[in-house]
Symmetry: C2
Subunit: 314 residues, 2 copies
């Protein structure tokens, strides 16, 4: 059995169970974005609230970067469903001491990201108060093609892939990362994506979300994990591999496809940012790591624990 669901997950699950089914909701709480019916189309809905001192540090990070990140994490949620972002709502709680100046700079960051991904900021809410800086972005996306890609569709035998490189994001990339919206579209058009998630909590922690929702297990190959330069060069008490497996906020895409589609991706290599075949989905619901010696060792849910105290936006 897959171990130790986090307290936040348990809380969200209890909410999910209490909600009355409402027509038009294809997928509610529990994935990167909700899927809703809208006329003959499907929409994607997600929100992330970023808090000063938790998800960013306004004393050392620029408001432009913070605004950029607030929209980027939501774009990443839409990418994880293989969706196309359309509209965003931005809510700001501004410390009274810095409200106007701060708002203008945050808006600069939001605007640059919105323009880059053809997303319209259509409204929101602004208040100043005596508390810390808070920014919430809610995003509305559109399903590309006939269906969205959920966490729940991984099948035994599927190959697991991850885009880009992993680990050490907190040394800077967590503020400047590019959400993988276009890459997700390319993948969605090239192969049949069985399951996908963006790596916000950490590779293994997010893999657990796919395994839980799909009712499967997985084996990852240690030698295949793409380790970023930041993870290789930062001084820390963890190895580069541990950082790549555990660090949050990489915002790369982790996904499962059939072996046939996997082989096609390996041979065509359609993404400029790189793509790594890191493991396989198994029927046995355990999560294992194949080390460089070929030994199989249990892979606990690492990374940011995604408890209520967890700083990672999904």
């Amino acid at each position: 059995m897959l171990p130790d669901k986090s307290p936040e997950f348990a809380l969200i699950e209890s909410f999910r169970d209490q909600l009355r089914a409402v027509p038009g909701v294809e997928l509610g709480i529990g994935d990167d974005a909700a899927i809703v019916e809208w006329g003959s189309r499907l929409g994607l809905l997600a929100a992330d609230m970023l808090l000063d001192g938790v998800h960013f540090d306004s004393s050392s990070q620029s408001p432009v970067e913070i605004g950029r990140k607030a929209l980027a994490v939501n774009l990443s949620d839409v990418a994880a469903m293989a969706g196309v972002p359309r509209f965003a709502l931005v809510s700001l709680a501004l410390p009274r001491s810095a409200s106007d100046r701060l708002a203008v700079s945050v808006f600069e960051g939001l605007k640059s990201m919105a323009n880059e991904f053809d997303t319209a900021i259509v409204g929101g809410d602004t208040t100043s108060w005596n508390g810390p800086f808070v920014i919430n972005v809610a995003i509305v996306g559109e399903v590309a093609g006939e269906r969205a890609v959920k966490r729940s569709g991984a099948r035994p035998g599927d190959w697991l892939f991850v885009t880009g490189e992993l680990g050490g994001s907190l040394s800077g990339r967590h503020l400047t990362f590019a959400p993988r919206v276009r890459e997700a579209q390319t993948l969605h058009q090239t192969v049949e994506l069985h399951a996908m998630i963006d790596v916000s909590d950490g590779l293994v922690a997010d893999l657990y979300h796919i395994l839980e929702e799909s009712g499967t297990g997985a084996i990852l190959n240690a030698t295949a994990i793409p380790i970023s330069a930041a993870a290789r060069h930062s001084a820390a008490d963890q190895s580069p591999l541990e950082k790549a497996l555990g660090d949050g906020e990489d915002f790369e895409l982790l996904f499962a496809v059939s072996p046939e589609d996997g082989a096609k991706l390996v041979s065509t290599n359609p993404l400029e940012i790189g793509l790594s075949h890191i493991g396989e989905i198994t029927a046995e619901p355990t999560c294992l790591l194949r080390t460089d010696t070929g030994a199989l060792t249990p892979l606990p849910r690492l990374g940011w624990a995604h408890a209520l105290s967890d700083p990672s936006p999904d």
Copy 2:
């Protein structure tokens, strides 16, 4: 000319002017909700962020009431466009000391309101932190019929109406009010609504929004303003009329219709909660009050000033 736009309004206007036009946005920042094209349909998008110590007081108000209000103010935004609410995203920042218990109670309030108005809570975000309690709700609604009702459609000669009674909301009703979703639908089906807004900042302050967006003025009749019992009986240094004109958070509907439709509403009185014909729209862009003696006096932008320091969610 209509005087003194608030700092928040100026800031939002500058954002609005900087945004690149994106296809699919019929109406962006500046009304109760944005109007977006979605296939052959129109969607409504709005968000409100409620802050402890600003919009509610968690030391004296119950989390159930706070959760209820957080969704209700958004439902009121959709009502103000004559729309039908569909989906909501809820983001919570929970004080670490009280996180689980608080989340469960807030969710109770959200759920009761969601069920009452057939709105699906489909996702959001939950984090605990060392800051105060923050709740953001983003709502997705649908335009009923062929068009949404904006603030900008009032015409000289139109009659102004308001639903229910006004003033003294802060003595309790601001937490327990019923959003006028069904009443807006009844009105929308009965007459052609030229312009509408929900009274969140105060009757006169919100009337100014209609006048500014419509390029018109108005005359209100003092003797026609429906004053609530709370405004009549609370001890304060303002008169009941001043409270009805100025108090925020009534969440009644203020709207303009042709004189013919106005007469129809007066004679049929289709709403159980009552409907008052309170004045007329004028071509001259001034806002005046006709007192009980028949004298006309300028009506300044009263109510919560809707500055950046303003606690009222729109």
